[in-house]
């Protein structure tokens, strides 16, 4: 009777075991990269906008305060997208003939809003409120990144839940004094943790147990 398996059978089995382990490891790597990577989160990707508005120019260069446009950030869940009138306060006078600004002038003439593409878009099952975060000492920069250096707007952070929890579990790492919230050049002091704990007391920030409870963000 001839042999059932050739000589190479043992080696093939060993090689396929190595291949199996490699394939499983590769699949795990792909899964993790997919879940955490910018392909899923859109972190760091600029979006197409009807007008290429530059925060770098307006905030970094001209020094406009965030609240000049995002007027409701301190008192509402929604920071506010400025009406075309806000743009026209200046652009009725300067760059009034620029072709790049044609959609702004059209919007002003017709009264139809410019359809900006939302960059920081949380899922609908999360109830995020800007006002409470401002009131408790979270700087704009902490979530939106260095907006004053962004020629086109992009999402600086992943916006994944683990990122939210990073701060909700230890707010002392990020809290700022009230007068520094809109400061785009703010640097954390060396004693940030001590300061943060003091600010938690001062602002009456609730305990991590409270602010990591499911219903805090998911009603």
């Amino acid at each position: 009777m001839p042999q059932l398996f050739p000589h190479s059978a043992n080696s093939s089995v060993r090689v396929s075991l190595v291949i199996l382990v490699t394939v499983v490891a590769a699949l795990a790597w792909v899964g993790v990269s997919y879940q955490y990577g910018p392909y899923t989160t859109r972190q760091g990707q600029t979006r197409e906008q009807p007008v290429p508005f530059s925060h770098a120019h307006h905030v970094g260069g001209l020094g406009l305060d965030c609240r000049y446009c995002h007027t409701s950030v301190e008192g509402s869940s929604f920071a506010g997208i400025p009406p075309t009138k806000t743009c026209m306060n200046c652009h009725a006078q300067i760059w009034s003939g620029s072709s790049m600004l044609a959609p702004v002038r059209d919007s002003f003439r017709t009264g139809e809003s410019i359809r900006w593409t939302k960059v920081h878009d949380l899922p609908d099952f999360v109830y995020f409120q800007h006002d409470i975060h401002i009131a408790k000492g979270v700087g704009c920069q902490s979530c939106h990144g260095d907006v004053d250096r962004m020629p086109l707007m992009y999402q600086a952070k992943s916006l994944q839940m683990r990122w939210c929890l990073d701060c909700h579990r230890a707010p002392e790492k990020y809290l700022r004094p009230k007068d520094q919230i809109f400061n785009t050049e703010y640097t954390y002091p060396a004693n940030q943790l001590a300061l943060g704990r003091q600010l938690i007391q001062q602002y009456h920030v609730r305990s991590p147990q409270d602010i990591t409870s499911c219903s805090t963000c998911h009603h």
Partner: protein, 461 residues
């Protein structure tokens, strides 16, 4: 009358039937078990059974498809009875599996060599029962494709499963149980797979069994390693017989629901699991020995031993029922007393009384040697016990849940036809897998049965 004649008429002490019929040899055992799959034509009864099982499996698939399309609302579950059939069937199936592990692991460690003839298909029974059991929590989730949320993996939400919940312990208990059972079963199969490889007729069949036998040549070194691996796995599986159903009982005992919150639950659940498991072993063994004419290897001794285990575990379960009632009364808690009262005379009382009839009353017949020797009676009593153990889980889950602490949240539970379709469908899944196993693999462990032969004993001494 002569005195000699008087002595002769004294009743003889009852003779135990042997664990293996006389006249068997190494060659006859190998031929019997391997020919059943490789040479002999498949029995007609196999085809008949497979047709029924496959039909039920098709019904299961249809019912699950509709369930996935419409959601768990097609079942009878609703607040306050949110568990219903899914959890009843889960506990029932996982309990059935326990007998297989007890036979293969615990009886092995205790040198109960009679178990060598029934451990193989009992282990297969365990695997298939765990597969059926696993269906129910998955389907009950409503979105089974998100089942991996139950595992502690590094998710982008950075939240972990609730480790204080027994439902999470269940995930670990059942997945460990399935893994260890599969490994134990497969390691035990290796020498027999090599026998099949050597005796198969066609080349591709030889190759198939050859790959599965993983190069087994039966050398002394192979046997030594095999024996240690098998012993280690038996040691690993032994605590699982006790721990898995203990964890399942925690699903209830850890909650503060009247009728669930008692310390008797873990031992009483484990005993109930083994009780129903041995009933299922008999329900399988009796037709299998008829179908494949295995009477020489699965002897009346095996059936009788299984019946004795059933009798013993059934009494532990009876103690559990007694103590539930006692604890309710002695504890003096009005909710517990009401729960006992509700079981005895409430709207689900017929289920409770049928449960007592099936699990306490009828199995007492097993005290009689005549009944233990009667194959048909054993088969019927085993089915009665399986029904009784299913009713037990029904009573535990439904009667406790439908009468909550607040009368305003009381409700009623009735299973829909989809509940029944999924439940009976898993019977189809179980028996389809079992029949495929009988058709393709050695249903009795060839190597281990040979150890029961007189020839093997002489050499060992």
């Amino acid at each position: 009358m002569e005195p000699v004649a008087q002595i002769e008429t004294l009743p003889e002490p009852p003779q135990e039937s042997p664990v293996i019929a006389p006249g068997q040899t190494f060659a006859s055992v190998t031929a019997k078990i391997s020919n059943a799959v490789l040479v002999d034509p498949t029995p007609l009864s196999w085809f008949a059974a497979f047709a029924v099982a496959a039909l039920l499996l098709a019904m299961f698939m249809g019912a699950v498809t509709y369930l996935l399309l419409r959601g768990v609302g097609i079942w009878g579950i609703n607040v306050p009875v949110a568990w219903g059939f899914a959890i009843i069937n889960f506990v029932w199936w996982i309990g059935i599996g326990h007998a297989g592990t007890l036979i293969s692991a615990i009886l092995h460690l205790f040198h109960q060599s009679w178990r060598n003839a029934i451990n193989r298909f009992a282990e297969a029974m365990t695997l298939f029962a765990v597969a059926c059991a696993g269906m129910f929590p998955l389907l009950h989730m409503g979105r089974p494709w998100l089942f991996y949320w139950m595992f502690p993996y590094p998710s982008t939400m950075q939240v972990w499963p609730q480790f204080r919940s027994p439902l999470v312990w269940d995930v670990f208990a059942v997945s460990t149980y399935a893994t260890v059972s599969l490994l134990f079963w497969f390691v035990g199969l290796i020498p027999d797979l090599a026998t099949y490889r050597d005796r198969a007729q066609r080349t591709w069949v030889k190759r198939l069994y050859g790959v599965l036998a993983m190069g087994w040549r039966g050398s002394a070194r192979h046997w030594k390693r095999y024996e240690s691996a098998y012993l280690l796995l038996a040691g690993l599986a032994t605590p699982l017989v006790l721990s898995v159903h203990t964890v399942v009982s925690f699903d209830f005992a850890v909650a503060n629901m009247p009728g669930w919150h008692t310390t008797i639950f873990p031992p009483y659940f484990v005993a109930g699991a083994i009780y129903s498991g041995f009933a299922m072993v008999l329900v399988l063994a009796i037709p299998i020995r008829a179908m494949y004419n295995m009477h020489a290897l699965i002897t009346p001794r095996h059936l009788e031993n299984c019946a004795k285990v059933m009798l013993a575990t059934g009494l532990v379960v009876a103690y559990g029922y007694l103590f539930e009632g006692f604890a309710g009364w002695y504890g003096g808690n009005q909710y517990e007393i009401y729960m006992i009262h509700n079981r005895l005379v409430g709207s689900y009382a017929p289920f409770y009384w049928s449960l007592l009839t099936c699990n306490l009353l009828i199995p007492q017949l097993l005290w009689l040697r005549k009944i233990r020797k009667n194959v048909l009676a054993l088969f019927l009593i085993s089915i009665v016990v399986l029904v009784g153990m299913w009713l037990e889980r029904f009573v535990i889950i439904v009667t406790s849940l439908h009468r909550d602490f607040l009368p305003s949240s009381w409700g009623h539970y009735t299973a829909t036809r989809w509940d029944w379709a999924v439940f009976i469908g898993t019977l189809g899944l179980f028996f389809t897998l079992m029949l495929l196993f009988l058709r393709a693999l050695p249903m009795i462990s060839i190597a281990e049965v040979k150890m029961l032969l007189p020839a093997a004993k002489v050499e060992a001494e």
